[in-house]
């Protein structure tokens, strides 16, 4: 199962390192990363493999989203299925 992690906020040093560090804690393998600056905002999308997750998906998602608040970034952790379902026939 894959998850889509989006990180949006003001650009600062070390965002990628901090978020991927958190993913590593939960044994989430990052398969793909894309990042850009949209209208002055830093915007990163990571695709992670959560098959070997060390906790429940819910706990991982909640923890990462809370972690986002501590570094002033808005983080969403969502199942890939929702995007495939909405944007693919």
């Amino acid at each position: 199962m894959k998850t889509v992690i989006t990180v949006v906020g003001k650009d600062t040093v070390g965002i990628l390192a901090k978020v991927s560090g958190k993913c590593a804690e939960y044994n989430v393998n990052i398969i793909d990363v894309t990042q850009s600056i949209l209208q002055g905002m830093f915007c990163m999308i990571m695709i992670g493999d959560v098959d070997k997750l060390t906790s429940s998906f819910g706990d991982f998602a909640l923890d990462l989203e809370k972690f986002g608040d501590t570094i002033d970034m808005k983080i969403h952790v969502m199942h890939e299925a929702i995007f495939n379902s909405m944007h693919r026939i």
């Binding site: 889509v4 949209l38 998906f57 969403h76 952790v77 199942h79 929702i82 909405m86 944007h87």
Partner: protein
């Protein structure tokens, strides 16, 4: 692989445009709980609901968490209780009401619907007793929703039931007058009621349905409005309709995904997705604002019916391809107190009941969540129901009436229910008396369009 733009679009829909799943409703048949002894029947009902729906709320929360999409309400609909009551020697329907309330609290759902009777062509055993108990049932419970079907295209309109329902609506409001007459907000009178509707107050589990199913109602007026605001500036109405279709497709895909997940995790068959645009009082989640985005100064202006007809049709066309099974009410809702734009239009006088009645001919349901003066006579309420039912009967569509007589208040004042039910001004009603028409009773015969065979 999904591209960045699509991912950000989905997230923006949820974060900024109020996209959510309005309800996951588990339909449960109570036909196997019928018993001549009402206490035994209640025992079976409680056991069946609390066993079947035991995991409904936790599973929905899990899906919510995993997919990142809010599921606002978790609900249950059951077989119309009048069918169970008919078999009981001792007709005390309130016992069923209290049992349903207890079961709803045990499983933690937001609402339970099905305190209902289907009397389109006459009253069977238990029907009248159930209907007469509705005011008491809704005043003594918190989670129960009640509905009565008084007609259909196939059967015509049961005017005896229409006359009775005028009184019942009024009594329900009176018994809950200390709580903003909220009982009447949980009671709806239908013509052509669907058997698989996931939305309250009209949800019940039809007798033709399977033992247990999962039905899902989507929301998303905010998403449609935002899409129109961003992209429709230079479009003609064909283009606007296409844009609404594409947006409705995306909204419904979300509903389909949640329905499939809920169905497989609960081990319960998937019933339908209701292709709905269900507003909430939250800013930016209004059907009226979509109509205004299309080009009306205010909802209620001339042109409202045409714009709503196009919106309703486009929602269905976009949604139907996105789901393997659709049903329920499917279309745009226009509940006045639940829609910020409608509330504003009603307050300013741009929107009146007569215009709302015209709008109901082309949208999903009927006169919904309308506050009327507390001194409105029961026969006027009955006549409102009759008018609405006639629109449904002739046009082979569902129509309904959910009006709230604001006891002790009149035009110019407001009622506030809180939560999804919202608040709104008391609207003027034409008080020329229909008393003689209503007191005649009898049946308006089924129209010629019923003879399709």
């Amino acid at each position: 692989m999904v591209n960045t733009k699509d991912i950000l679009e989905t997230i923006s829909m949820i974060d900024n445009e109020n996209l959510d799943i309005r309800t996951v409703t588990m339909g449960i048949s109570l036909l196997d709980c019928i018993d001549p002894d009402i206490d035994k029947a209640c025992e079976k009902v409680y056991k069946k609901i609390t066993t079947t729906a035991k995991n409904l709320v936790p599973v929905c929360c899990e899906i919510e968490r995993e997919l990142g999409i809010p599921i606002i309400n978790k609900r249950i609909s059951v077989t119309p209780v009048a069918l169970l009551l008919g078999a009981c020697k001792n007709k005390e329907p309130i016992k069923f009401a209290l049992t349903l309330e207890k079961a709803a609290q045990t499983v933690g759902v937001n609402f339970i619907g099905g305190y209902s009777a289907l009397v389109g062509k006459g009253f069977a055993a238990g029907d009248k007793e159930l209907i007469e108990s509705i005011p008491e049932a809704l005043s003594k419970t918190e989670h129960i929703c009640s509905s009565v079907n008084i007609g259909s295209t196939k059967s015509g309109i049961n005017m005896d039931a229409v006359a009775l329902m005028g009184k019942i609506v009024k009594q329900t409001a009176e018994l809950t007058k200390d709580n903003n007459c909220i009982g009447a907000a949980k009671l709806v009178v239908f013509c052509n009621a669907p058997e698989d509707n996931p939305f309250m107050a009209g949800a019940f589990h039809g007798v033709g349905e399977a033992d247990c199913v999962i039905n899902v109602g989507v929301s998303g007026p905010g998403v449609v409005r935002a899409a129109l605001a961003k992209k429709s500036a230079n479009l003609d109405l064909t283009g606007v309709s296409e844009l609404i279709k594409r947006t409705a497709f995306k909204i419904t895909r979300m509903g389909q995904l949640v329905a499939k997940e809920a169905s497989s995790r609960l081990g319960v068959p998937f019933g339908i997705v209701d292709l709905s645009l269900a507003p909430t009082p939250a800013v930016g989640d209004s059907v009226a604002h979509i109509l205004e985005e299309i080009g009306l100064e205010s909802c209620g202006a001339c042109g409202t019916t045409a714009a709503l007809a196009m919106l309703n049709d486009a929602v269905k066309k976009g949604g139907v391809m996105a789901s393997s099974r659709v049903g329920g009410l499917s279309g745009a809702f226009i509940p006045v107190t639940e829609d910020a734009g409608m509330i504003a239009a009603a307050r300013s006088g741009a929107l009146c009941i007569e215009k709302l009645e015209a709008m109901t001919a082309v949208c999903s349901v009927g006169l919904d969540m309308i506050n009327i003066p507390g001194d409105t006579p029961p026969e006027v309420i009955s006549a409102i129901i009759a008018d609405e039912a006639a629109i449904g009967m002739i046009n082979s569509k569902t129509t309904a009436v959910r009006v709230i007589p604001a006891i002790g208040k009149t035009v110019g004042e407001e009622l506030s229910f809180g939560g999804l039910l919202g608040s709104g001004p008391i609207m003027k009603v034409n008080t020329n008396s229909p008393a003689k028409f209503i007191s005649r009773g009898g049946q308006i015969p089924a129209p010629i369009q019923s003879l399709k065979n």
